[in-house]
């Protein structure tokens, strides 16, 4: 039997069997859950669309191609990071405390950006700087992966520790100052592409499409979900769980490196305060689950969530409202989403 066939078929079995037994035991509970899921997902999409419509009608310039391009571009850095986190959440399971989480992502972006800017400042070309930033991101991913799969530390704690180390390294490297950087690649990335839309917007779309294809449409992606949602079933069907989890952290580390490069282009160098991005990224990835069919983390859901938050910020500014309201709205949404999914999960386990 080929290596491909066993896990693939196995995980399908693991996925469908519990659903059937559940169907016999508590059909009303399942139906209720389905409706609730549908409402939550439909509701959140409806809220998104409604927000877009309200802004289109009330906020001048909101619906212009340039503005939408700007919002896409402005979401690129957080979006790439949140997609990295999404993959970790898929492979590690949805529980924020014990499951997949990578708190080192924002610090990773900061250090990767600093490496890029420092190399560029030292006279190295774009290629070396890109390689340096990506290698830095990947290295951080490797440390995370080792700490979690070999040492067996809970991701929340392991990545928290790595986050501190990485933030410290960034301070050492930059002395907490801004390191300006210029170069052809940076000029290209910070400029505008076709239709006068920022290049960063194209980067975000391209990156999301590739990640979504791999995660949502390949056997590899299916196994990632199997490992995260039903680790026992995955193990029983012959999937080794640890390499998948390690791989997810490598990928998120790599995303940190990419986001670092994007950040250098957006801010014309490496700046301090990368850590500020951590909570928005976590929020984006968590909020992303409401845009998926089964309330699980998905790449497209995370993209929608990133865009939703960016459109809120953008619309508030266009309406000349205080952007401080945005964090309040965001907090309310998170509270709503987390309580709704928790309630649904409880219903599921009790059934």
């Amino acid at each position: 039997m080929s290596v491909e066939a066993v896990p693939f078929g196995g995980s399908q079995q693991g996925g469908s069997e519990p659903a059937q037994t559940r169907g016999f035991g508590a059909s009303s509970g399942t139906a209720g859950r389905r409706i609730a899921t549908l409402l939550l997902r439909g509701g959140s999409l409806a809220v998104f669309v409604a927000v877009l419509i309200v802004f289109s009608v009330t906020a001048p310039y909101f619906l212009s191609v340039g503005n939408i391009g700007n919002v896409l571009g402005q979401s690129a850095i957080a979006g790439v990071l949140a997609i990295g986190l999404t993959v970790v959440m898929i492979a590690g399971g949805g529980n924020v405390v014990t499951g997949g989480i990578d708190l080192s992502l924002a610090a990773n972006m900061g250090l990767s950006a600093a490496v890029y800017a420092a190399l560029s400042q030292a006279g190295f070309g774009d290629a070396v700087a890109v390689a340096g930033a990506l290698a830095m991101g990947l290295a951080i991913g490797i440390v995370n992966a080792l700490a979690i799969t070999l040492a067996g530390i809970v991701p929340l704690l392991a990545t928290l520790a790595v986050m501190n180390v990485v933030a410290g390294l960034e301070l050492v490297l930059t002395q907490n100052t801004v390191i300006p950087a210029t170069g052809d690649l940076l000029t290209l990335l910070s400029g505008s592409g076709p239709f006068d839309i920022p290049v960063l917007a194209y980067v975000l779309i391209g990156f999301t499409l590739v990640a979504a294809l791999v995660v949502q449409a390949t056997p590899l992606g299916l196994r990632l979900y199997a490992v995260g949602e039903f680790p026992e079933a995955a193990r029983a069907s012959g999937l080794s769980v640890k390499p998948f989890i390690a791989g997810a952290f490598l990928f998120s580390g790599f995303c940190g490196g990419i986001a670092g490069i994007l950040s250098v282009s957006y801010l014309s160098g490496s700046t301090t305060g990368a850590g500020d991005l951590l909570l928005p990224v976590v929020v984006t990835a968590l909020l992303g689950t409401v845009f998926s069919r089964r309330l699980v983390p998905t790449v497209i859901g995370t993209l929608l969530s990133a865009l939703f938050v960016s459109f809120l910020v953008n619309g508030f500014q266009l309406l000349n409202l205080s952007s401080t309201l945005v964090s309040g709205v965001q907090g309310l949404l998170i509270l709503f989403v987390v309580s709704a999914t928790t309630l649904l999960r409880k219903q599921e386990t009790s059934a």
Binding site: S64, G66, N70, Q74, D276, Q317, L318
Partner: protein, 337 residues
């Protein structure tokens, strides 16, 4: 608002008088450019104009005052302010500028911000045909920069420092924000002055002040330095380009009982001026800028520009050095006593 205006006018007159009496080297030019800016600001109108007001943050006394003063002044002159506060986050600052450019306001005023980060976006605003003015940002893409005379501030503070320590001894320097133009100028002026006092030494390595947690961080760093130099007299003074590190440093000196060391800073934050006023405190001097006046001046300049006037490259708003001897007068003149 009219009360504000009155206070502003009163303060202006007093300050002009004061700086004339003080006989600062740059007083002549300061007063000249200052008066012309003030006079025109009163006549200008921004009726029907949308003015973008972007700030790096509002978490310090200085930027909050300057930010609010701009918003009020735009409203007073009949315009509509579009005000955005980046909360000291460079990514947010750039996003807001980008969106602001798409909003096509009649002018954008940028308050503070790291030059290399914002400069490309100020250029994009200019390329989009939007006039850009700045407060405390020395950008080539700015039509006019309202600023305190940072050369004067740096020189005054440095001269006060060397004269206080009798022209000899070690000084500890916070130099974490050399990328921020006003800080760089003040630091360079310190170095220029110290150059001619060979017995004054800037201790190496210099300290890096940070944002956020500036006070706690300065406290920790100074406590560590004091442990490294335990002998009284081994350090004479602590200098920082603004006064929030000075606040932390002063607290650290008081906590360690090393009140023989003096601290120096810039910005005139009320809590630091209070320390300067306390005879027992090591806070020796703080150069107070007039943030509210800076904000009003910048908006006045916008009105002049939109009325077709040509603006000078820089508009200087006078700053006041507060030391142990005159701090009460200065706080009174600033209206924050």
């Amino acid at each position: 608002m009219s009360k504000n205006e009155e206070r502003g006018l009163f303060a202006r007159r007093e300050i002009l008088k004061w700086s004339a009496v003080a006989g600062v080297a740059v007083a002549g030019t300061t007063i000249l450019s200052g008066t012309s800016a003030f006079a025109s600001a009163a006549e200008g109108s921004l009726k029907g104009k949308r003015i973008g007001i972007s700030t790096a943050g509002t978490d310090h006394f200085f930027d909050l005052q300057a930010y609010n003063a701009q918003i009020e002044e735009v409203k007073r002159l009949g315009g509509e302010p579009i005000a955005v506060d980046a909360g000291r986050n460079d990514g947010k600052l750039v996003s807001q500028l980008q969106t602001l450019i798409a909003q096509k306001p009649d002018a954008i005023v940028q308050l503070l911000g790291t030059l290399t980060v914002i400069d490309p976006w100020l250029k994009k605003a200019r390329d989009a045909g939007i006039p850009v003015l700045t407060i405390d940002v020395g950008s080539t893409h700015s039509l006019n920069n309202s600023t305190s005379d940072n050369w004067g501030i740096g020189k005054d503070l440095a001269l006060q420092l060397v004269s206080d320590i009798g022209g000899e001894g070690n000084i500890v320097v916070f130099n974490g924000f050399y990328g921020v133009t006003p800080c760089a100028i003040r630091y360079d002026q310190l170095v220029n002055v110290v150059k001619y006092f060979p017995k004054v030494k800037i201790l190496q390595p210099e300290l890096r002040d940070v944002i956020p947690n500036t006070v706690q961080d300065a406290f920790t760093q100074i406590t560590a330095i004091l442990n490294k130099y335990p002998e009284k007299g081994s350090i004479k003074a602590i200098w920082s380009a603004w006064d929030i590190p000075q606040l932390g440093a002063t607290q650290a000196l008081a906590a360690a009982g090393r009140t023989e060391i003096r601290t120096y800073g810039v910005d005139g934050s009320p809590e630091v001026l209070q320390l300067v006023a306390d005879p027992a405190s090591p806070a020796a001097a703080d150069v107070a800028q007039q943030p509210g006046e800076l904000g009003r001046t910048a908006i006045g300049n916008v009105a002049r520009l939109l009325a077709g006037e040509t603006l000078p490259r820089e508009t200087y708003v006078p700053a006041l050095l507060a030391n142990k001897a005159n701090v009460n007068d200065v706080t009174k003149k600033l209206g924050i006593g």
